[in-house]
């Protein structure tokens, strides 16, 4: 059965990209503030078990419609594992490089200035 766990007060997320890493029932989980919302992701890289959410947030390099020019999308919603650089979308947990790859994500609730992760 899932239940919600307090992670931090909202004032601990002073700006876009702020994060808090905590441990819930033995699992390290990071909560990120992104685009006015909160997203919870396991602090665990599926590649070699690195501390994924201790890495930077970044945008993403894609291509234009003709698959020719390289285009940088500066929407910084991808967390990059500090160990080997695998990256995941913090809003979905999926890899932007292959949708079959992903890390666990958790629902987040905000109530009375407190951010909760649901696990």
């Amino acid at each position: 059965m899932t239940r919600r766990h307090p992670v931090a007060d909202t004032d601990e997320f002073p700006e876009e990209g702020s994060r808090v890493i905590t441990e819930i029932e033995g699992q390290e989980i990071a909560v990120f503030r992104y685009d006015g919302e909160y997203y919870a992701v396991a602090n665990y890289c599926i590649h070699q078990a690195g501390p994924l959410c201790e890495g930077p947030l970044t945008g993403h390099v894609g291509t234009d419609d003709e698959n020719w020019d390289w285009v940088y999308d500066d929407d910084e919603k991808y967390v990059v594992c500090p160990w080997h650089g695998w990256m995941f979308d913090i809003t979905t947990g999926r890899s932007p490089k292959d949708e079959r790859y992903g890390v666990p994500t958790y629902d987040v609730e905000v109530e009375d200035g407190t951010v909760y992760a649901v696990r």
């Binding site: 650089g85 490089k97 292959d98």
Partner: protein, 378 residues
């Protein structure tokens, strides 16, 4: 342990070659000579005129010199006389190949060139275009009387627009079932945008692209020039060239743009699992510089790349490891090739003997001909 994991029940195995459907060899070769090809160039062709006046045609037209001191087909095994029957200067046409293929138990051979696997290294692009057309015309004349042989038409990578026109010219020939894009010495490598007319033409005619390297490939790295013998070059040449080419094709996103199937010849299977993993791993680690793909490189490889078995990898004489390579790559992506008529030929029986205990009958039939049948519309 590996043997236990891979071995299939006796009743699921084939009993021998006679249990197979038609064996298809995706890597048969003729051995064309410059003299034979000159016959298929117009009298008015300056390429014909200049090549015919060139004394050392292999070394001077094809700018990759043979390794010193002994080229493989001149090998003597230490005696006074050449030991090989396929001296590289001799012409081996379709008649001789068809006979050898038939003796080896090959039902249909997909024919590739020998000399012109080095076509990419012809410095003069006009000559390269002329040689490609002459080879294709010569090949078609050779194949006419041999229903058990079909062929890959060759293209000159030096001039991709002319290469695409050449594909258009020969694509409807009954005996043309694919394209050979000579893998050795492709500068720039084949993921570069300049080659896109070739991929576009191959896609529009639904012709798979075969790629095979050759020895004496001067373009592949400075280290080649320091090979002290033929074997020192031969050990790495095919595999390394294919790794460079496939990496370029994938990371530049060619399979994302073009629906083309690739048949990778002459490098065996052993390098392919290694390459597949490296491609995937670096794609996930360094993907910000590989934006053209939308899924793992291995997914594209599984969809549209086929690994030719020749030369058979036999680590430590234990066929279990060979079976494990087929298992890793998937039997749907492994295709039998012989390299007939050359001295390092693998006959069907050799491969079947080694794989039969480890592949279910249907999977082995797929390797020995089923996939090639679909690829080449045979």
């Amino acid at each position: 342990m590996l043997d236990n994991a891979l071995r299939v029940d006796q009743e699921e195995q084939i009993e021998g070659l006679e249990d197979l459907n038609r064996v298809i060899d995706v890597d048969a070769q003729v051995q064309e000579t410059p003299e034979a090809l000159l016959e298929h160039m117009d009298e008015s062709s300056a390429a014909r005129r200049i090549i015919s006046l060139t004394e050392l045609r292999h070394d001077m037209i094809y700018a990759g010199p043979s390794s010193y001191p002994l080229y493989e087909y001149k090998r003597t095994n230490g005696g006074d006389e050449p030991a090989a029957t396929d001296d590289v200067d001799d012409l081996i046409g379709a008649a001789q190949l068809a006979e050898q293929a038939s003796e080896a138990g090959v039902g249909v051979g997909v024919v590739n060139p020998t000399l012109n696997l080095g076509l990419s290294e012809v410095n003069n692009d006009r000559f390269a275009v002329a040689i490609a057309a002459a080879y294709n015309d010569w090949l078609l004349s050779e194949l006419d009387d041999h229903p058990n042989l079909v062929g890959n038409a060759i293209v000159a990578p030096q001039h991709p627009e002319r290469a695409a026109e050449e594909i258009d010219r020969v694509a409807d020939e009954r005996d043309v079932v694919g394209i050979q894009l000579p893998a050795a010495g492709l500068l720039p490598p084949p993921g570069h945008r300049r080659y896109e007319p070739i991929y576009e033409a191959a896609e529009s005619h639904d012709l798979p692209i075969a790629m095979k390297s050759t020895v004496g490939n001067k373009s592949f790295g400075q280290q080649y020039w320091w090979a002290q013998s033929f074997p020192e070059d031969f050990v790495y040449q095919h595999g390394f060239v294919q790794m460079r080419n496939i990496t370029s094709i994938l990371y530049e996103g060619i399979p994302e743009k073009y629906d083309v199937e690739f048949v990778i010849q002459g490098a065996g299977l052993g390098f392919a699992p290694f390459l597949t993993h490296r491609l995937d791993d670096h794609y996930l680690e360094l993907g910000y510089e590989i934006p053209a793909l939308t899924k793992l490189p291995s997914a594209y490889l599984e969809e549209s790349f086929y690994w030719c078995t020749q030369p058979i990898d036999q680590p430590d004489g234990d066929p279990t490891y060979l079976a494990a390579m087929v298992d890793m790559l998937g039997p749907d992506n492994v295709v039998f090739g012989s390299d007939l008529p050359h001295g390092i030929t693998d006959v069907p029986e050799t491969l079947v003997d080694r794989l039969a205990p480890y592949l279910a009958a249907d999977d082995l039939r797929t390797v020995m001909g089923g996939t090639a049948e679909r690829l080449y519309g045979l």
